[in-house]
């Protein structure tokens, strides 16, 4: 019974046409979703990027990556926009294992709702606070956010009633504050205001989760707002302080 190698040799010897067909068949088998020209094919680019990561980071920092095989102990939870320009790892240099990260349109945190729906943020928050026991939550907004612009330029209930509008309505209090305070200014100024105020709405919504509020008051967890402006090249950060006064009995 001829081995595969013997068969290949026989085919290659038999005719150039057969040899050529065999080469094509082998190339097709070797082709993967990641083999392509990384300069033109985004998927091949991801594969090549991974190889670079593996060589330059993963294998070089084996102490860190070996530890991370056993678990994760991030101190931070970051909630940022999905915008391709604002990845927190790039902007703040987070290493693997440092930040548990949620990214969605316009970095929104919906208020606590005990049941139903698709709790994309609530589930991540629950995992981060209750299981991973992160110490800091940072909500980062950014300049020129398409989501916030849509929020600012759409009146409540007047939009296309699609998923994007439904999601952005989480920030409607920020839109109201924007119209009240800077409603007479141009759209760009209104957006700049709303981008920051929607972070405050998300921070307030974080505190609507009882187990978040409890930890913040108990000083086990602190929450922060941030704003990345890539037009000016600046970053702002602020804390949210929760003051619960002493109750007095009469």
């Amino acid at each position: 019974m001829a081995t595969i190698q013997q068969k290949v040799d026989a085919i290659c010897k038999s005719s150039p046409e057969a040899a050529r067909k065999l080469e094509e068949a082998i190339a097709a088998l070797e082709k993967t979703t990641l083999s392509g020209d990384a300069s033109t094919d985004p998927i091949a680019r991801l594969g090549k990027g991974f190889q670079t990561f593996k060589t330059n980071v993963y294998e070089k920092d084996s102490a860190l990556f070996d530890k991370l095989k056993t678990g994760q102990w991030p101190k931070y939870m970051v909630i940022a926009c999905s915008d391709s320009r604002v990845d927190p790892a790039t902007i703040f240099g987070f290493n693997a294992g440092e930040a548990f990260m949620v990214r969605n349109v316009a970095n929104m945190v919906p208020a606590w709702e005990p049941s139903g729906g698709y709790p994309s943020v609530a589930s991540a928050l629950e995992y981060a606070v209750k299981h991973l026991k992160v110490e800091h939550i940072v909500v980062i907004g950014h300049r020129l956010c398409g989501g916030i612009k849509a929020l600012v330029t759409t009146e409540e209930g007047q939009g296309s009633h699609d998923f994007v509008e439904n999601w952005l309505e989480i920030g409607k209090a920020a839109r109201a504050a924007t119209k009240a305070v800077v409603g007479s200014e141009d759209v760009d100024e209104q957006c700049k205001f709303c981008e920051k105020e929607s972070v405050n709405v998300s921070l307030t919504n974080l505190l609507s989760y009882p187990w978040v509020k409890e930890k913040v008051i108990g000083k086990k967890l602190s929450i922060h707002g941030g704003f990345y402006d890539f037009v000016e090249g600046s970053f702002q950060v602020w804390d949210l302080d929760v003051n619960v006064g002493h109750s007095r009995k009469f």
Partner: protein, 299 residues
Amino acid sequence: MAAATATLACSSSGIAVANSRVTRMQLQESSGVSVVKTPFVSKTPGLKSTSRRGLVAVHSAGLGATLPEGYEVKDRVVVDESHAGDAASGNVIDKLKAGFKNFKESNFTQNPELFEPLKSGQAPEVMIIACADSRVCPTMLHGLKPGEAFIVRSVANLVPAYDPSMENVHHGTSAAVQYAVTALGVKKVIVMGHSSCGGIKALMTMDDFGSDFVGSWVKIGLPAKETTLSQMGDKPLAEQCTFCEQEAVNVSLRNLLSFPFVEERVQKGEVELYGMHYDFHDGKLTSWKAAPSMATVNA
């Protein structure tokens, strides 16, 4: 009417109403760049600082208006390359400040050909739906630059099926998919799972999916659990999880196709769907394509 509303918003917020003086602390001047550290003040509408490079125009009036009683914004700091942070202090804000300063100096200002066009907009070709796990950041794993990929991150990188009901429901992932596909026109959508995923482990080990948020979310992956148990029911949990991590990606890909605006573009060849799995135990990346099958008719 607008002015009255503004006053109402400010005074009911409880924000710094009693302390309405603006305090400028630590005003540092170096090479024409200033850093301002000021508490938020909401009782002086119209207060606006003029902007020089690094001194960000501050709409301090009214910011914080949406915060309820008992909450106040404090310690607002603006950072650019002139800011002297203290990275070694271990303090989270110092870490963010130092990280940003480093990014600004070594990346942002060094690569204007990359960052200037991004001020006009974004045109990423790729959308990646990845896990929120701190170990699986797509930009790190693939060396992605700003502008390359629109990224969604959630527990176990799940995509729910198309559900057009809007009552009492927030559609975070659906909104991101809609925005990426219809507004940004991404050409490839990738769902990327990973090894030792806590969300998938929860899916495999939980019985009651309604008792908490994690359960309510990961139940999106229940079809993957069923497939896993039917094919790997006799294997140890770790092996089941590895299988389920990849099968849950397929569930998400199937769910993506339940969105009309995704399915029609996939059929036309305008959008391609990929699944990926990052295994950080072996340091390997697996990738596959979810392509419409070519229908053949045997006459």
